[in-house]
Structures are given as structure tokens and as C-alpha cells.
């Protein structure tokens, strides 16, 4: 009798803990800032090993490629795993986790952030990368590698500690699903004038930082070991504000030239779309969400261009 009571007590306690876990997970999901996407949640919803192509990189990746269109019109079964401010080390860890979860046959890497050696950018961007990432060895490795402040690491596992104060800003969309489609696709309707893309006419090169090259090598090795085809490209963009000196964009293009020369001998295609900007027939008044990023019209135009010109011949 006493034993039965004990077992009943333990069972009730376990049920309570399970319900509490669900409650905390739901609360975390509600307060999490979804304005920067919530792609891991979407990726987890995919059937295991059902995705063929994973798209990695920065906001330029998810603003340029429409994965829903790729699937519906071209039959490319892709998933958008790019996040705002996804640095090269983050991309490496995203690829590692994506391979564990889905084992795609192709990884498309938008290589804009290869030109600098930041490991993380803002806290919000870092959270948008880590939040929802499945708990496991890859997440642990990534957190320990990328988050220097040890006292803050815990909040990348328990992000309620970071976002709980958002209770003040909760609105209806926070209680619904995220801004991404089931394939992680973003759809930006806002239209603002884009800034004209400055194209570097010479083939000057600038070596990328050593730290970034280290992670690029890791990514290449990871893909080789897992028999995954790696495709790299950069989407064109202009200066951030009208009147800004385009020298910064030229410097980046020099880095892209260097990367092209570095990866192509390894059999990795690198497409520098700055060189094809005229063929894209961009409408700077209609195709942009802000000065540098495409809206849904630019995204569709760019996606079609990539497929129809054979860059995405998967």
C-alpha cells in the first residue's frame, strides 16, 4: 500500500515536471523575438532527410532566394536556413547541424560575410541563430566557441532568460506562427528605393581574414566528408545610405574575387552576381525592401535568374 502510494506520488511528480516543461517551452516560444525568424523550429518540423538543398548565409540569402518558388516551379526541394548576421563560423555550425538533421545533397552558401572576421554581430542576431537550435553536441560546441562571455552562454540554452522581458511588447502575432513559411522562406512586401549596385571593374583581390578562412575550410571539409555539393555565391547590393562612399562595397568584391580563386580549384562553384547585375534587370524603385535587400519582387526575379541561368542546376 505504502509502495503504491509512493509510486503514485512519483508518477504525479513526473507528470507535473513534464507539464511544467511544456509550459516553459510554450512561454519561451511566445516571448521569443520572431522578427528575425525562427528557422530551426521550421526545420525540425520537416521529415527527417526530406530536404535536398539547404541555403545558408545572411539576410542577403533569404532576401534573394525564394525557396517556396524553387519548389513549386522548379521542383527544387530546399530549405532556407540563413539568418540575419549569420557569420562564417555560424554558417559552419548551421551546416553541421543541418547535415545531422537532414543530410541534404547540396548546400548553397551565400558568402557575403566571408569578407570580415566577426564571430557574432548583435545579441539579437546571435539569438536568432541559436534560438530553437536543437539541444545537442553541435549547439554546445557552437555556443562554447562563439559566445565568449561565459555568464551569457546559459541564455543560449534557456533563452527565456533573454527574452522574458518581452512580455511588455507581446502582440497578437507573437501567439501565432512565425514569419517564415514551412520551408523557412521569407516574404517581404515592403518597398523602398534600392541603392544602385557599384560593380568593381578590375579583378583585384583581397585575402579574407585568417579566422574566417579557418571556418570556410571547415565547411568545405565538412561537405566533402559528407558527400555534399557546396555551391557559393554572392548577391549584388549597393551602399547602405544614399551618398555613401562605395569603396566598402568594392573592398568586399575584392574579397569575393579572392574566395572565387580559392574555392574554384577545389571544384566548388562560386558565382559573383555583381558581375551579372545588368542581366538581372533590377528595378531599383520596385525590387527592394531597403537600400540593400530585395523585397519579394526582387527575390522572385533573382531566384528565377539563378535557376534559368544554370546556377542552381541541382
Amino acid at each position: 500500500m505504502k509502495r503504491l502510494k509512493y509510486i503514485k506520488g512519483m508518477a504525479l511528480f513526473i507528470v507535473f515536471i513534464c507539464l511544467l516543461y511544456i509550459g516553459i517551452c510554450y512561454t519561451t516560444w511566445v516571448v521569443r523575438d520572431k522578427s528575425l525568424g525562427n528557422i530551426w523550429v521550421k526545420l525540425r518540423e520537416q521529415k527527417k532527410d526530406s530536404i535536398d538543398v539547404i541555403f545558408l548565409g545572411t539576410s542577403h540569402q533569404f532576401c534573394s532566394i525564394d525557396v517556396d518558388l524553387l519548389y513549386e516551379e522548379y521542383g527544387i526541394n530546399g530549405f532556407m536556413l540563413a539568418t540575419s548576421g549569420q557569420t562564417m563560423p555560424m554558417t559552419y555550425y548551421a551546416a553541421k547541424e543541418a547535415i545531422r538533421m537532414q543530410h541534404p545533397s547540396v548546400i548553397v552558401f551565400e558568402a557575403l560575410y566571408c569578407h570580415h572576421d566577426f564571430r557574432t554581430l548583435t545579441d539579437g542576431m546571435t539569438h536568432s541563430f541559436f534560438d530553437g537550435m536543437p539541444y545537442g553536441a553541435v549547439k554546445k560546441e557552437a555556443v562554447e566557441d562563439l559566445i565568449e562571455d561565459e555568464s551569457q552562454r546559459i541564455y543560449y540554452y534557456l533563452d527565456l532568460g533573454y527574452f522574458h522581458n518581452r512580455w511588455k511588447d507581446l502582440k497578437e502575432p507573437d501567439f501565432h506562427c512565425t514569419m517564415n513559411s514551412s520551408r523557412g522562406n521569407y516574404h517581404f512586401e515592403e518597398t523602398n528605393p534600392g541603392s544602385v549596385v557599384p560593380v568593381l571593374e578590375t579583378d583585384e583581390k583581397r585575402e579574407i581574414p585568417e579566422g574566417t578562412l579557418y571556418y570556410l575550410d571547415l565547411l568545405i571539409k565538412l561537405c566533402q566528408e559528407n558527400n555534399i555539393r557546396l555551391v557559393m555565391y554572392v548577391a549584388p547590393f549597393g551602399v547602405l545610405n544614399e551618398g555613401d562612399d562605395p569603396a566598402g562595397v568594392y573592398e568586399m568584391q575584392k574579397s569575393f574575387h579572392w574566395i572565387r580563386d580559392y574555392v574554384e580549384p577545389m571544384g566548388i562553384p562560386f558565382y559573383n552576381l555583381f558581375e551579372h547585375v545588368e542581366e538581372l534587370h533590377l528595378d531599383y524603385g520596385a525590387d527592394f525592401m531597403d537600400a540593400q535587400h530585395f523585397n519579394f519582387r526582387g527575390q522572385e526575379k533573382f531566384t528565377r535568374f539563378m535557376v534559368e541561368n544554370g546556377y542552381f542546376d541541382f
Partner: protein, 496 residues
């Protein structure tokens, strides 16, 4: 390790689970190991002080019994042991304060001495565990208790982690027998476990939702760089919120400590009994930090003669006790002034008692009415709140400035023009704070009316208790002040 840290949220369940699973005979050893680990999480080196105080008082206790027939030897043992313990306390807590005071005094007579600073961290909870160890020693000296012969049991008495760093300062009469009988405690008592959880949860609510939220406003108003710009109503609000903050901070800690100990099968003494409902300063000190007040009463006030040696001596004793109580709280003149101010309140209250009673008789004033009681409570609360300004301020000068601003810069419009919404907490934080204060008030009212909310809660149905705990946890996680962007705020009483 802070109670309101993720580290503790991982530590405590592990302690409890292992505690429940290991053989009952070695439970106290497990708790001792956990207590030392708990303390070492703050600074491993400083555990040696805890150990030193423990060893010295343990051995002294044994010697006191061995030499029970020699009062002279006993006195020597007691004196040496007190000297060592209070010596440790003085060096680590008051040495720099003493040096600076001497330097300033010499400076007044134009004698310049080279600046000396002893580079020592103030060990967390040093005043608490030393006072606890000393109380054991004096109890043994007086023959009130027998000394503990098992060193590990005694070591656990001094270092029991729930109350190690901020009390309650337990008496050996209460805690030692419970530690000795840990192996006989029936652990699987759902009422006790749920009661303990509820107390811990209430403590987290007081600390994380009320105290740390109020602190955001208080820190803004008491900011040494900017405090001079504030008028009456900002200072008044800051003062009232600090009155609330310090209570919720300390009572929150105590509630977590009592709850945690309860889960482990140990009943700790209560440290607070609705102190802001007190009708006099004397009454306030019977309700606030009870374990310290009774410590000073039993081990200082009574030995000084208490009230047995005439009125003047009584008043002097009160001033000594409150002066030392202020000093116990911190090495700073503003703490000492705070203690002395309470002493003045007490002495004035005592000295004018008969006059006030006479006045009430002449005026035929009824003193048992609600309005009279409310008046007394309001007066007591106001006096306590004013004294807290000295406690919270960084210096005596700042406290005096703030009180001067309180009475000289009348600006009631800040209550309506949104100024108070821009001093560390916004409108939504205010809403949460006000709602939380109402909950605190309701619970305090229950206690004031003689009901025990914790006991009443434990008597409710299991489902009700589970639902309250469930939503309590979620609400604290959501509305608590913690996490990235905030430093996990230390409990105020840790520094004492």
C-alpha cells in the same frame, strides 16, 4: 551561489535527489559537503575562514565542558574564542573602516599619515555564521546546551547552506537537535515538500518580481551622480520603494531558505512577522530580522543589564545595542547612524510613553480604535522609512541631502506628468509592481490576522497546490527581473 541564479536551480534539485536516495545515516555528511560546495562557489579560499570559526568554536565547546568546574578557565576559553571570532570579523569587515576613520581623525588635527588599505574581500555571510557559532559557544558556556561532540554535525550546524549566507541566525537549541536527527526524518511527506516548494516560490516572487523591480527605481533615485536633481516626490517614491525592496529582498531570501530547509526536513526559525504592520519601533524590532534582534537581546542587551539597572542605564544599553546593530549591518557611518537613529526612536518611545498615555487620558482618546492603530502604524512605518534612507544612501551626506530634497522641493506634478515612469521602471513595470504589492499585502494581512498562509496552502487539495505552483513558476519566469541584460542581483543582506 545566489538563490536566484540558474546555478542554484541546478544545484538544489541535485542536492535533494541525492539526499533522498542515500542511506539516512550519512545524510548530514552529504549536506555538509553540499554546504561547503555552496560556499566555495563564491570564493573557494574563504571557506577556510568558515572552517576556522567552526574548528575554534567546536574545540572551545569541548574545553568548556572539560573545565566546567573551573570558572576562571571557562572564562579564558570563552574570551579567547570570542576574540578569535570577532577578530576575524573585525579584520575582514571593519579594518579598512577603522583605518580610514583614524586617518580622518588625525587629519582633523593636521596629522598626515600614509594611506593604508587592506586588500581583502568581505566574505559573504561572515557576520551570520560567526554570530551563529558565537551563540552556540555562549549557550555551552552558560550550560544551556551540551556541546556537540560530532565535529561534522557541528560543522553542518554552522554551515547549513540554506541559511549560511543571510540567516536566519539559528540557535543551537533549535537547529542542532534537528541535524542530529536527520536520519530519523521521514522525507516523503508530500505536505512538507509542497509547503517547502511554496515557500521557496513565494521567496522568489518577493525577490525577483518585487525587490529587484523596485531596485530599478531605487537605484536611479539614489544614484550618487544624479540624486541631487530629484524633488520631493521622486525621493518619497524612492524611499518608499526602498522600504519595500529591502523587506522583499530579505524576507524573500528567508522564505527561500526556510522552504529549502523544509524540503530537507529541517525547520528554520521565522525571521519576519509582518514588520511594517508594527505599532511602535519596539514592536517593529520584534518583527524584523527576529533572529538578529533576539541574538542582540540574549547575548548583549541582557548581559549589559537590560532594564534591571535603572532607566538611564536601560537607555544606554538600548543605544549600545542599536549602535552595534547598525555596525553589524556594514562598516560605514551611515549604517551606524541608521542603528543609532533606531536607538533614539526606541529611547524616545520609552521615555515619552507615560506622557503619551497621560495625554490620551486627558483627551479621552480611545486607543483601541482602527483609526488610532492605523495612525500608530503609519507613524512607525514613516519613521522606519526615513531611517532606511540612511541605510541605503552611499554616505551620511547623501542621506541628509535626500531628506532635505524630500522636504524642500515640493513637486506633486511628477505624480501625474509621467516623470515616475522614466526612472528605471516604465508603466507596465509599475502595473506588475502594484499588483505584486497587493498580493504581498494580502498575504501579510493573513499573517497579521493570525493565519499562516503557508500552512493554509499546505492544507489545500493537491491539484490546487500544483496549479498554484505551476502558474507561480511561469509567472516568476516571465515577470521576474533576471537574465541577460541584468546582473543577477545579490541579496542585500549578503554583504552583512
Amino acid at each position: 551561489m545566489l538563490f536566484n541564479s540558474l546555478q542554484f536551480l541546478a544545484f538544489f534539485p541535485v542536492v535533494v535527489i541525492v539526499y533522498f536516495l542515500i542511506p539516512s545515516k550519512i545524510r548530514y555528511l552529504w549536506l555538509l559537503a553540499c554546504s561547503y560546495y555552496f560556499y566555495m562557489c563564491w570564493n573557494p579560499k574563504y571557506v577556510l575562514l568558515l572552517l576556522a570559526s567552526t574548528v575554534v568554536t567546536y574545540l572551545a565547546g569541548l574545553f568548556l565542558v572539560r573545565w566546567s568546574d573551573s570558572p576562571k578557565r571557562k572564562k579564558w576559553v570563552l574570551a579567547i574564542c570570542l576574540l578569535i571570532n570577532f577578530g576575524i570579523l573585525f579584520v575582514f569587515k571593519y579594518a579598512n573602516f577603522a583605518i580610514q576613520t583614524i586617518e580622518k581623525l588625525l587629519g582633523l588635527v593636521h596629522i598626515t599619515v600614509p594611506e593604508v588599505t587592506i586588500r581583502l574581500l568581505l566574505p559573504v555571510g561572515i557576520s551570520f555564521y560567526i554570530f551563529q557559532a558565537v551563540s552556540y559557544l555562549i549557550d555551552v558556556y552558560r550550560g544551556d546546551i551540551k556541546p556537540e561532540r560530532n565535529f561534522f554535525i557541528y560543522a553542518l550546524f554552522v554551515s547549513f547552506f540554506p541559511q549560511l549566507v543571510a540567516g536566519p541566525i539559528e540557535r543551537s537549541r533549535n537547529l542542532l537537535p534537528q541535524i542530529r536527527n536527520l536520519n530519523k526524518t521521514h522525507l516523503w511527506d508530500s505536505k512538507r515538500l509542497l509547503g517547502g516548494c511554496a515557500l521557496m516560490l513565494y521567496g522568489f516572487f518577493l525577490k525577483m518580481v518585487i525587490a529587484d523591480r523596485a531596485a530599478l527605481f531605487v537605484d536611479t533615485v539614489f544614484d550618487v551622480e544624479k540624486y541631487s536633481v530629484y524633488g520631493s516626490f521622486e525621493v518619497l517614491t524612492g524611499m518608499l520603494l526602498f522600504t519595500l525592496q529591502i523587506y522583499c529582498d530579505f524576507a524573500g531570501y528567508t522564505s527561500i531558505a526556510i522552504g529549502a530547509a523544509k524540503i530537507l526536513g529541517v525547520e528554520l526559525m521565522d525571521n519576519f512577522n509582518t514588520p511594517y504592520f508594527a505599532v511602535s519601533i519596539k514592536d517593529f524590532w520584534n518583527r524584523w530580522h527576529i533572529s538578529l534582534s533576539t541574538w542582540f537581546r540574549d547575548y548583549l542587551y541582557f548581559p549589559l543589564g537590560g532594564s534591571r539597572k535603572g532607566k538611564l542605564r536601560k537607555y544606554l544599553n538600548i543605544m549600545i545595542v542599536f549602535g552595534l546593530s547598525g555596525m553589524w549591518h556594514g562598516a560605514g557611518w551611515h549604517y551606524i547612524f541608521w542603528g543609532l537613529l533606531h536607538g533614539v526612536y526606541r529611547v524616545t518611545g520609552e521615555a515619552t510613553l507615560k506622557i503619551r498615555q497621560k495625554w490620551n487620558q486627558i483627551c479621552k482618546k480611545r486607543t483601541d480604535t482602527f483609526s488610532h492603530q492605523l495612525w500608530k502604524r503609519t507613524c512607525t512605518f514613516s519613521l522606519v522609512a526615513v531611517a532606511w534612507v540612511f541605510f541605503r544612501a552611499a554616505s551620511l551626506r547623501q542621506a541628509v541631502d535626500l531628506l532635505f530634497q524630500l522636504v524642500s522641493r515640493f513637486n506633486p506634478w511628477v505624480l501625474f506628468d509621467g516623470t515616475l515612469l522614466n526612472l528605471g521602471i516604465d508603466a507596465k513595470d509599475w502595473n506588475v509592481l502594484i499588483l505584486s504589492i497587493l498580493i504581498l499585502f494580502a498575504v501579510s494581512l493573513c499573517r497579521h490576522w493570525g493565519k499562516q498562509p503557508a500552512k493554509a496552502f499546505a492544507e489545500q487539495g493537491l491539484l490546487f497546490q500544483a496549479v498554484v505552483i505551476y502558474f507561480g513558476i511561469i509567472a516568476i519566469l516571465l515577470f521576474g527581473v533576471y537574465g541577460a541584460g541584468y546582473e543577477a542581483a545579490q541579496f542585500i543582506y549578503f554583504q552583512f
